[in-house]
Structure formats: structure tokens, C-alpha cells
Symmetry: C2
Subunit: 441 residues, 2 copies
């Protein structure tokens, strides 16, 4: 009897281990292991901005899939968008509207749905955008020209916009300054957690707040490397200055991350400044106020961009790729992206394999100037290779130990110039395949 009891115990243990293995390779709805432990942050209220979210049933059932943001008249609005040649109808519409003179005495609105990207939907797509903007403008007492939209989800299917316009009254009723998290959740697609970030900074002796949220996990690559990001501040910033700040910081944040090298047709990043803090107007990029504000805005954008990578489809590793000593900054960036997008590098990361040979391969394929005998490679603080050969001090055990960390850095010295670049990426796992091989089913 004791023999059998022991056997049962042993078998049960084996069973549980195998079940865990299967769950780990299959569990499509598990929260990313790289998600912040603290959950969604308590975003500060931004004067002049109210949020609402609800269920329109565009595609998903039983969850919010549409959000509305109402923005006070007199605000400045800036935006950057995907450079895809097949960008969606809402992106084309937003880009054209941002060319208007702003601010005005009319409020703004942003309406976003998930479940359908309204991309490659021809003239019908444009009509959907127009219909939604019309109803939102009517309900919020503004002009269609001041309503911005975005859609995220499946490409190439007509957007059932009637389901959205039917919810605008309800959304308007629900508008509230503290509903940013609900809005952030409504625009999620394959995201496993909602992404928010904020900073406070003193401008002219007054506290100014910056709060934003983002969605996006697959189809993330430069030009630009996110799906949807909305950032709000109660600072007062002149329209063109706001746009310059956003475009500039975008290069080192959302445009420097990559999950799978694919670029969305819908990527949109909008930044709204309401001026409700009462802090002095920022209109000169060279002023001390502008520098302080830009630093805080940069921190919010960097945090959000890293959260997008940390929710990369199937990601279990968050990896900074640093390139130094390249022929130019542009060359460094090309090399960094060749490493960050290499399927062989990304699968090695997934396998916790310190396979620096694949890093060498990726540098080689980038097409950029490099000299085998001048290359150096480090994993974290561990020098792995130098002068075209494995470093004397390097041991495979040290490399393998380091690879067990969830956050990693790969630093490559090219040794031919002074160009530098940093991009952020994640690993390529079974889970990425599981998610994407049947996303539409």
C-alpha cells in the first residue's frame, strides 16, 4: 500500500509539472510576465479632459470596445502617425485635420474603437469616419473638423459604425475626469494589460501634470512603433511647439521600439495640452520651462513605449539593444534594428541562450560598415567578445546565468566610428505564434 501511495504522489507531481509546461506554451490570455506588478497607475486628473468607455459590440462581446475623450476648447493638439502607404481611413482623416489652425473656441473630441481597424476599407472606410465624427460633433457641441478618431483591430473588414454612433449619447453621459483607465482598457486588442504612465513637473511655480495611456502589442515597429497612444497635459503649450516636442521625443521612444518588425496601418500618437494648470504658456523650445516640460513628457513617453514592448505578443524578455562606435547614428540604428528584429536572436533570447554568434550574424546582415576584428559584444555588464573573438574573461555559465533575467541588455561596439543608437525589443516565443496563427478565429 505504501508503495502505491508513493507512486501516486510521484505521478501526480509529474502530471502537475507537465500541465504547467502545456499551460506556459498555450495560455493565450495570461498577463505578460513583464507587466508592472503594481497594475495600472492612478493617473492624475488633467483639467479640461474627460473620458468615457462603453460596449458597442464592434467585434468583442462582454467588454468595453469604444472610448470617448472630450477636450476643453482652447487646447493645443499634436499628433504623429504611421508612415504606412496603406494607412487607415481614420489616420488619413486625423492627419488632414491637424493641419487646421488650433486652438479654437470649440472643444475637441477623440473617439477610438477596438476590434476593427477600418483599414483597406475603401470609400466605405472614409464614410464610416465621417459618420462617427458627425454624431460626436453634434453631441458634444463642436465641429466635425475637431473630432479625431482611431480604429484598431482586423484590417479589411467594413467598420459597423452604426454600432458606435448608437453609443455616443451614453458615452457623453458617462464622461468623467477619472475614467482614463476605463478608456485605456476599451482600446486594448491582444494587449494583456492596460498601459498608463504619468509625471508631475513644476512650471513657473505651478504643478503641471502629464498623463497618458497606450495600447499595442503585436505589429509594432518603427514608423512608428506603437499602435495607439494618447497623452494629456494641463500645461499650456503653443500648438507648433507641442508638435515639435512630440515629433522629437517620438524618435527616441515609440520610434525606437520593435516587437515583430511589422508596422501597423493605424499607429496614432496624440498629445493634448489644455492649459488648465494655470502655468505660463510654453512657446519657446529653448526656454527653461520647455526643457523641464520636455524632460517630464519624455519620461512619460519612454515609460509608455517600454510598456508596449513589455506587452509584446508572447514576450518574456525585455531587451535594450545598444550600439556604439558605428559609422554614424543612422548606421548604429540600422544595426540595432537588425539585431532587435532578427528571428534567430529573438528565439535565442526566448531560450535563455547567450548565443552571441547570432548577434554577430545580425550585425553582418545589416549591410552597415563593420570590421569583424574590431567588434565587441556585452550582455549586461558581461564582456562576451572583443577583437573578433570570445573574451578571455567570458564563461558560458556567466552568460547563461545572465540570460535568466527578465530585463536584458545587449551592447555592441562596432569600432569604426562614433555613431550610437538604442532600441528596445522583446523575445520571440511560442506564444507569439499561438496568438497570431489564429488571431481572427
Amino acid at each position: 500500500m505504501g508503495k502505491y501511495k508513493a507512486k501516486v504522489k510521484k505521478l501526480k507531481k509529474k502530471l502537475s509539472k507537465l500541465k504547467k509546461q502545456i499551460k506556459a506554451s498555450d495560455g493565450a490570455s495570461v498577463v505578460s510576465p513583464l507587466a508592472p506588478k503594481a497594475g495600472f497607475p492612478a493617473l492624475p486628473v488633467i483639467g479640461g479632459v474627460r473620458f468615457a468607455a462603453t460596449q458597442a459590440g464592434v467585434k468583442y462581446a462582454g467588454r468595453d470596445d469604444v472610448m470617448l475623450v472630450e477636450i476643453a476648447a482652447g487646447s493645443s493638439v499634436a499628433g504623429v502617425f504611421t508612415r504606412s502607404a496603406t494607412r487607415s481611413a481614420p489616420v488619413l482623416d486625423c492627419q488632414s485635420k491637424l493641419k487646421q489652425a488650433m486652438p479654437t473656441d470649440k472643444p475637441f473630441a477623440i473617439l477610438v474603437n477596438s476590434g476593427n481597424a477600418n483599414a483597406f476599407t475603401g470609400a466605405k472606410g472614409d464614410a464610416s469616419v465621417d459618420a462617427i465624427c458627425g454624431v460626436v460633433a453634434d453631441q458634444l457641441g463642436t465641429d466635425k473638423a475637431y473630432v479625431f478618431t482611431a480604429s484598431t483591430g482586423v484590417i479589411g473588414e467594413p467598420l459597423p459604425h452604426d454600432r458606435i454612433t448608437a453609443q455616443i449619447t451614453k458615452l457623453k453621459t458617462g464622461l468623467s475626469a477619472d475614467q482614463a483607465e476605463a478608456a485605456a482598457r476599451a482600446i486594448m486588442t491582444t494587449d494583456t494589460f492596460a498601459k498608463g504612465a504619468y509625471r508631475e513637473v513644476m512650471i513657473g511655480g505651478k504643478p503641471v501634470h502629464i498623463a497618458g495611456f497606450a495600447k499595442g502589442s503585436g505589429m509594432i515597429a518603427p514608423d512608428m512603433a506603437t499602435m495607439l497612444v494618447y497623452i494629456f497635459t494641463d500645461a499650456a503649450v503653443e500648438q507648433s511647439t507641442l508638435q515639435v516636442m512630440l515629433s522629437s521625443i517620438n524618435e527616441s521612444t515609440f520610434n525606437s521600439i520593435t516587437v515583430d518588425s511589422d508596422t501597423s496601418t493605424s499607429d496614432s500618437l496624440m498629445l493634448v495640452a489644455t492649459g488648465k494648470s494655470g502655468a505660463p504658456l510654453i512657446a519657446d523650445m529653448k526656454s527653461a520651462d520647455a526643457k523641464d516640460f520636455t524632460a517630464a513628457l519624455g519620461a512619460v513617453m519612454q515609460e509608455l513605449s517600454h510598456l508596449v514592448v513589455k506587452d509584446g505578443e508572447g514576450a518574456t524578455k525585455f531587451v535594450a539593444v545598444n550600439v556604439t562606435g558605428a559609422a554614424s547614428d543612422k548606421s548604429a540604428r540600422t544595426i540595432a534594428l537588425a539585431i532587435a528584429n532578427s528571428p534567430l536572436v529573438k528565439t535565442a533570447l526566448a531560450g535563455e541562450d547567450p548565443n552571441w554568434g547570432r548577434v554577430v550574424m545580425a550585425i553582418g546582415k545589416s549591410g552597415e560598415p563593420a570590421d569583424r576584428d574590431k567588434l565587441s559584444i556585452s550582455f549586461g555588464d558581461i564582456l562576451v567578445a572583443e577583437n573578433g573573438w570570445v573574451a578571455d574573461s567570458y564563461t558560458e555559465d556567466a552568460g547563461a546565468d545572465y540570460m535568466k533575467n527578465a530585463e536584458l541588455s545587449i551592447t555592441v561596439g562596432i569600432g569604426v566610428g562614433a555613431g550610437t543608437s538604442t532600441v528596445w525589443t522583446c523575445d520571440l516565443t511560442h506564444q507569439y505564434i499561438t496568438i497570431n496563427a489564429d488571431y481572427r478565429s
Copy 2:
């Protein structure tokens, strides 16, 4: 007691089921479902060429991992190689040796090992190549300058070349005209089947034979898109003409395939013409003989290049991507590669999902001129989308049915010019991750 017995039986059953599940998602050594049913072809004997293979134990145990080819004096030799900036020591050595005047009155030799790429191995790598070439030259009565080598496998580890040089006598003894298949098998790494192809063509009334073999399954992308390919013919072709033929056909064959967008540090394609058929010398690219020979050589190279894709790591689909109507041929190629390398397109193919929206996305991200409203997309003969919208005749059922085929084509009309391009790729599956997340372990 009976209670426990039943429990053990039940648990054992569960265990076996779970183990099977894990094996199914892990089975790394299964032959590709796209492998030719007929197996390795019976390659014709090529006069002046003898092969041998044996076990040197470079890395693998219990299988051949080194091959030697002896080529008669008076042959012409041509080659194309990876353009990687971090190419391996053997590649650099071959490139320099091909600059010599040939043919000569000395025989040639090709020696290839698998298990270690001898890449990023610094001065030690060069010394290994030199040591191997020296022993081969001594044994075959030729000069080091006429011995070509290649190494494939792990990058960045020193090549234990003594294990190889210790086998040269045995290899020499084993040389035989009919050992091409053994040679093809000795150079495999993650390949699941050996790849061979041949053609016969009449030149000046004499039958001429072309036979070749290839290895390579992961790390396959243009510049150039293979790992190792060796092709032999008994035709008589003048050295520079042979090189022009090889370089030209390479563009539309090995340089037009992609498995994972990664480029090897070791890619080598060599073509040897011994002249032993007795057919007249081909020295003019414009002659009828040259055209006939080029057509047959092109067929061998296309077949071999497609076999490499069909053995793409984890591949279950072989996909031709055709682009027409682009601004130029170069633009068409960029678009075709953007589609063929997109992880989202490739996972959709793995999931048999006719997700043409991802094709639109890939066209958009290519950065090439395209007009959403002029695009057309077909899967096989099925028109899926035209004029920026799903085709009236298209049904999801028809698309889904088509995707069940093992061989697929995606044809995209850009509608802005006359540029065309075709590239071949495979899908991205769990198996790719399984193979590459622990290739070194």
C-alpha cells in the same frame, strides 16, 4: 489496494497523453511535410568529380559531418558568397582563391564540415582553414590555393580542425563518383532532408549533365539566400562565362528565397564545370549552346533553392509571393520581401488564415510607392481584393479552403507601374521557435 491500482492506471494514462502532446509540439527531428515524396534523386555521375563523406566528430556524434570533393585538373570553378560583413573565415578564403587564373593543370578540392561555422573565430579561424587546406592539398597532390572549404553550424566557437585533418586519408580512400548523396547528407545541420537536383541537356549533339546538392534551412535570406550549394557539370564552360551564368541565375533563385530574413555568415554556392562530357566549349553567353545550358542550369538552381525553402525550419507551407505593377522591379522586390518576411503574414499562413489584411499591412510598411485604391490581391486563382476593397466575388470560405494547400501563391498588383518580382518563402510555426530557442543545447 484496488483503488490505488486504478488511480495509478488513470494517472499513467494522463501522463502518456500529456507527453504525447508535448512531443507533438516539440518533435524537432521530423522530416519536413514539404519534402519530396520520392526522397533524394539518383544524381547522374559527373565525369571528373568524386565524393566522400565520413565522421570527424566536429560536433555531431554518430553521423557523417565532413565531405570531400575531388575535381579533375582543367575544370572551371565559379562561386557566389554571402555579403555579410561578418562572413566566415572559409568564405573569405574562397573569395580570395577564386580570383586566381583557372583552370590549371592541378586538381581542385572542396572540403566542407558541419557542426561548426568557423565564423567570428578571429585569427584562429584563418589558421584552421589554412591547416585543412594544407592537408587536403598534400593528400590529393594539388596546391593549397586550389582547395576550397566551407563550415556550417554554430558561430563563434573555435573549429577543432585536427578532428577534420585526421580524416583526410580516410576520405581520400573513400572517393567515388557515386557518393554525392553521402556528401549531401554530411553537410546537413538542422535540415530534415537531403536536397539534390539534376538535369540533362544536349550541347553540340552530346549529352551534358548538371547535378547539385544543397543544405540550409534556417538563417536563409537574400545576400544570398542559402547556406551551402555545390553544383557540378561535365559541360566545358570557360571560367568567366561560368561565373557570369552563376551570378545571373543566382539573383532569381537563391537570392529570391527567404525563410526568416536572417543572413548566414557562411553562405556559399560553387559551380564546377569539368568538360568531361566532350561537348564543345561554351565561351559566348549569346550562343545557342550557352542558352540551352543556362536553361538547364537555371532549372537545377531553381529546384534546389525551392527545396531549401521547403526545408525552412518548421515550414508547413511553401509560398510564392508575386508582385506586379510596382514602380520598378526593385520596388516590386522590396514589396515582395516585405510580405515574405512579415511575421504576421507568416503566422497567418501557418494558421491557414486567409488574412489578406496582413498582406495590405506588409505592402504599406515596405515604404514603396503604392496606392490603397489601386491594390489587388489574389490567393492562387482567387481574387481577394481589388480597388482598395474586398472583391465582390470573394468569400472567406473560398479563401480558407485554399489556405489548406501545402503550396500557395500570393499575387499582389500594385497598380502604379510595370515592375515585377517573385520571391519564395515559408510559414512561421511553433516548430521554428522550438528548433531555434535551443539550437545550441
